[in-house]
Amino acid sequence: MKILIVEDNERVARFVTRGLREAGHTVEHADNGRDGMFSAASEPYDVIVMDRMLPGNIDGLGIIAALRKSGNRTPILILSALNDVDERIRGLRSGGDDYLTKPFAFGELLARVDALGRRSVEGGAQRVLQVGDLHMDLLSRRVTRGSRTVTLQPREFKLLEYLMRHANQVVTRTMLLEAVWDYNFDPQTNVVDVHISKLRQKLELDAERPLLRTVRNAGYMMCEHD
């Protein structure tokens, strides 16, 4: 993917750029609002990572609002040191697609960038999700593995749906908390892990191949094993 990073802190920018390049992305960097605005408006990107507070007369939210006004729909991940619920809402309302508070783990950023990039590729509504021999029918809400029907609680269904929509991508615990439970605070015990292991028990019976991988220090990934 081609990614633009607009971030004035040199160290953070270097850390993010290096990490994303290592993950196989093409990365460009602007260190102030004006250059960021110019790059974002003149070249197509798959994802833009935008710091909120920027030098150069225009801040992150201003750039996002201007881009959206001109019809630019590139997915944008907002980076911010402001952690209020209201600030998060304001960021998303201005046209951002996701919001990540500094400081962050690189794995979290990478997972979110991947999720955003994927969304821009697929877009449209699907009726059936499929990973290997696991099928999910979104209309009849039926989940089958091979010829076997998997019975899920509503919340488990939502969790699995999110994982399948982001198949072959790392999904972090925070992303799951936000998307599946709508909690943007951090419950201390890692209850998400327990939910995942329960789901895993239902999906992967003894003889079946594992589908739900735990990615160390990052989160989970739904994928067909080789």
Binding site: N83, D84, V85, D86, P103, A105, R155, W181, Y183, N184, F185, D186, P187, Q188, T189, V191, V194, H195, S197, K198, N217
Partner: protein, 452 residues
Amino acid sequence: MTRLIRSSALAWALGYVLMGLAALAAFAIPLWYAWNVTIFAGREELLRDDTQRLRSVFAHEGVEGLTAHINARVAMQIAGERTLLLTDARYRPLAGNLASWPRGVQSRPGTNAILADLPGQPARTLFIETLLPGDYHLLVGRDLARFVPLEQRFTWGLITAVTFLFVVGVLGAFLIRRALLARVQGIGQTVAAIMQGDLRHRLPVGGSEEFATLSRTLNGMLDHIEHLISGISNVSNSIAHDLRTPLAELRARLEEIALTRPPAAETFAEIEAAVADVDRVMRMFNALLRLAEIDSGARRSGFVRVDAAAVAAEVVEYYEPAAEQKGVVFSFETDGQASVTGDPVLLAQAVSNLIDNSLKCVAEHGAIRVRVGQRVDGAVEIAVADDGPGIPDADKPKATERFFRGDASRGTPGVGLGLSIVDAVARLHGGVLQLLDNHPGLRAQMVLPLAA
């Protein structure tokens, strides 16, 4: 001078002087008008009656008769009482006590009232001028000298009153201003001392009731500020203290790597541990910021009607697998009467913190009961009860303090802010957090007002 004009006391006093003058004018002007109208009109009527009488003499007895009549009256008259003059068409006097037709009096057809000055007379004279058939001119008049002293007295009285009012007003303004300034300066000096950092100063309460009330109010405000500031400095002290511990660990870890240069594998393990240390500090920061956000009351603007039972049910559902894994009996009950006005996210976090605490404390195969419902007194109760070790009575008051960690929580993850947040959320919603004994265990309950 501008300072004097800007002085509010002076402005008020001058305002009162002006109001006094306006009141005086409101009193004097109608009086003056009524007096003028009554006296003047009455006077004119008398003269008109007189004129009418003379005209009827003229009508019956002709110009000779009238001349004789006027001469007779003038002869009998006390000087100055009436001014009478009869002239022919060319204004030559025929009879009367006026030597010639007075200047400034013009003759017109009909009967006219005219005010004119006569030479040698101290005051103006009111005339009724009549054109008689045959172009004879008849003038009947009376001077207004009798009213001059009265008028003068009235005018002088008015001037004296205005002057008195003005002098008293201005003098009063200065005195009031001085008294006010003295009091205000007293307050100003105390406030200046407080601004320089000595919060223990208080305003003297005394003197007039108004100022005493003001001083008491200000003192109350100062008490509150002092309380808040000491609270803040307590918090910053404890933050400094409690953040220092993990930061010291982090520092030691990093310095040790730098000094001992262990093999790569060990170095990476240490670095990962260091990142975990940083994350722990960040969690403390986030919790503290969240706490500050709640305490500021800003979240109240986003309050909506919330079904506390539904919020709690979701949190319970979230924790269910974790409880199951630990073999804990986890139950939830509600009577459905649990509408509160509040912030669903904060309420969820509070319930989550309570359940999280219980889950950490209870032994395997213990029990946690969550109950949401209406109390006898009408309030909504969100209770999380467990059969864990509980909190000793001595620790209960301290349990909601920031960074307090009881003996039971030693060795469990957490930063000691969970109950502080629950307490703050309860207070934000106009309720309280109660920590009760569950015999055995803890029963933590938020009691919130039922939504109207």
